[in-house]
Symmetry: C2
Subunit: 424 residues, 2 copies
């Protein structure tokens, strides 16, 4: 059941995504340094990986026909092929000593691992060559990795919009790419708002004035933005004064794709960010049907063409509200800005887990409860779900996505979103 006047989370996310295009601008990144970047173009392989049939075990390259004549017959070791060295074609009636990664010589059609071979004569004993015998008949192609088995030349191996991770870097390196075409990093200007905010270090705890609190949002928002791969300019705390706010926002808009604020966008009279953004561009204030995180502002600041608009997002000031709205709304928005495909710009698919607690009365709004997996694979609930209590996010390892008025009984299957899946 939804409350009249509240915007549904899905609608808010759809509106955010409809307002944004991936940043234009492509640059070249060293593959070495490209973890977390987003591919700007389809990546096509110029070669087969592996480039040649090669041994995937240390052992002997053989001609099956020779062994089919008589298993156990001694065969001379006519050559020795190490990784990185090409051998000669394998003559009938001979075998080649071969090591993992070394190219399989022409004529060989299987590799026998060394554990399945035994010496039948040392080098120098009979005509100068060592010889071996094999206990069993290998199957055709055994312990050979085939040319192009991993990547075939000419195929698209990674599409544009791929977020590059460790495995992707390894794959592109295996194709010979020392540099990769990536979208430029998204630039975010981060502001906090509120007269009550004091920076840690500026005032010691024992000298904090009544009503003053340490600014915590800028610390976790900056870390969350960095984990997403954004460049972050921390512009500090905006004073609660209209003129200063207008000047600060205008300056930030010039060189950033997004201005992100926390605090200062509720319906309260003390907010100066809202009129400032309205003056410089436009702003919608949403009341989203979610808890925590109801108030959420979305807008833009005009810039001289051809720059176009700078995006604006205003998060609630309560730390938990700010954290939760960031991971459910700002993260997908930023992923789209970074160039990920639309289908990757959603909430991750939740896991079904059993609740190991009771919730006698659900909130009227869809609620993201802070929970933690226990040793039995069920979910425990943090005892204090107040939106000011950041300890719930530290204690928890994920969110339970509970529908409006959702009553939870012990053992019910519920929707669980691990933080692991919400941070990149």
């Amino acid at each position: 059941m939804s409350r009249p006047g509240l915007m549904q989370l899905e609608d808010a996310l759809a509106a955010l995504l409809a307002s944004v295009e991936p940043v234009s601008g492509t640059e070249s990144s060293a593959t070495f340094d490209a973890d977390g970047r987003v591919l700007a173009q389809d990546l096509v392989s110029a070669l087969n990986v592996p480039g040649h049939d090669h041994a995937s075990m240390d052992g002997y390259a053989v001609r099956l026909a020779d062994l089919q004549v008589a298993v156990g017959r001694p065969l001379p070791v006519a050559q020795r092929i190490a990784a990185g060295h090409a051998g000669q074609a394998l003559q009938p009636g001979t075998v080649a000593r071969i090591f993992t990664g070394a190219p399989v010589p022409a004529g060989a059609d299987a590799v026998v691992m060394q554990e399945d071979a035994e010496s039948a004569g040392e080098a120098g004993e009979e005509g100068g060559q060592a010889s071996v015998r094999f206990k069993t008949l290998p199957s055709s192609g055994q312990w050979i990795r085939r040319r192009g088995e991993d990547v075939r030349a000419g195929t698209v191996v990674l599409p544009a919009g791929t977020r590059l991770g460790p495995a992707e870097l390894g794959l592109t390196a295996s194709m010979g790419y020392a540099h990769l075409p990536v979208r430029r990093r998204v630039r975010v200007a981060l502001f906090s708002s509120g007269d009550e905010l004091v920076m840690p270090g500026d005032v010691p705890p024992e000298r904090m004035k009544p009503g003053a609190i340490y600014n915590s949002n800028r610390f976790f928002l900056r870390a969350l933005l960095h984990r997403l791969g954004c460049e972050v300019s921390d512009r500090g705390i905006v004073p609660d004064q209209r003129e200063a706010t207008v000047a600060a926002l205008r300056a930030a808009a010039d060189s950033h794709d997004l201005i992100l604020t926390s605090g200062g966008v509720s319906v309260g009279e003390e907010d100066h960010i809202r009129p400032a953004v309205q003056h410089l561009g436009g702003l919608d204030l949403w009341q989203i049907g979610m808890k925590p995180g109801k108030p959420f502002a979305h807008g833009w600041l005009d810039r001289p063409s051809p720059q176009g608009r700078c995006h604006f997002v205003g998060l609630p000031g309560n730390p938990v509200s700010s954290f939760v709205t960031f991971v459910v709304l700002v993260r997908p928005f930023l992923r789209r800005l970074q160039g990920l495909p639309l289908e990757a710009c959603t909430l991750p698919k939740p896991q079904l887990r059993q609740a190991h607690f009771e919730l006698a009365k659900g909130d009227k709004r869809r609620e993201f409860l802070r929970v933690r997996l226990n040793a039995q694979g069920g979910l425990d609930l943090f005892h204090n779900q107040s939106s000011g209590v950041l300890t719930s996010v530290v204690w928890g390892d994920g969110l339970l996505d509970n529908p409006p008025d959702g009553v939870i009984r012990y053992g019910d299957d519920v929707h669980y979103l691990p933080f692991d899946t919400l941070l990149d």
Copy 2:
């Protein structure tokens, strides 16, 4: 069923962990830059968070007794308290306009949100003060966040050994910490081994010699190490020559906690790393009952006291074997070296998921199959599980932990380890 002669994965992990102590050495990190670091000491709060009772909604601070006399009676707005400003004690028969985060004045015992209030007279009309009336009787303590609700002064809020993430940074900032005591970063020297390895960029694809392959392991290993928060020195490719290998390893041992190699530690004759490490310290070559990733080397290099030993880990050269052994064995080892508690240095607890494929015959060894969650929440299997095929790790989003000889039927519950849980 286990094979004789093979070491079980649990035993290998236990042996690794038994060999390692957290790095000694503590440094101070700016809270701003401490994402991913490990706390070196218990963190105690010097203050209550919040420091004072304050409003958690924009509205009016009231004395319940006044409203209990008659709901709907107009009450004068005697003061106005913004966040960061202390108000006066609330006189009987008056209310205070109050904003989110502002301290609740003495005498007030509830906050009524502004949506539940209506004007009963503008300022200047009757004796100069605005007045409001309320539609409903608030409950005691309503919309007030209590002093110490988040953190109580003197309590340990984060124990030593905590990996700091965005939420932890926010919490420590809210307690006034501008700097945090953290363990120094673990320093890892990374080597690749193999004559066949060519660096991307050094030789274009069309000029690669037979048997030559691009080095991909150093790219993903470096990224994996960075994600874990290690300092990485990439020492490049060690030539397949004993003397050069001894010299390179000796130099690296001086200034690193761990030397990590990939390739060059199998039972093949072409390995020069093994004798070099044995010369400089000691080495065990394990045959682990897992697939991919059977050969795994663990040892140490002696250094002049008081430095003690430098650890050595040799991963298999095949990319997938290297990747999988890193996440299941090296990751827990490194977490311990970084100072995480032993119980956090294991494989993560797997999820139970349904297999949406058949595996008619399981491997004799415990196998980590590359799989991907599908839209139905089941697991699909990558078609090629060869340990040379890095595309399986790119395609997949996790590992299926299959026991020795484990046959899988469509719909069976299997153990799934998402990569998300294996990368930090």
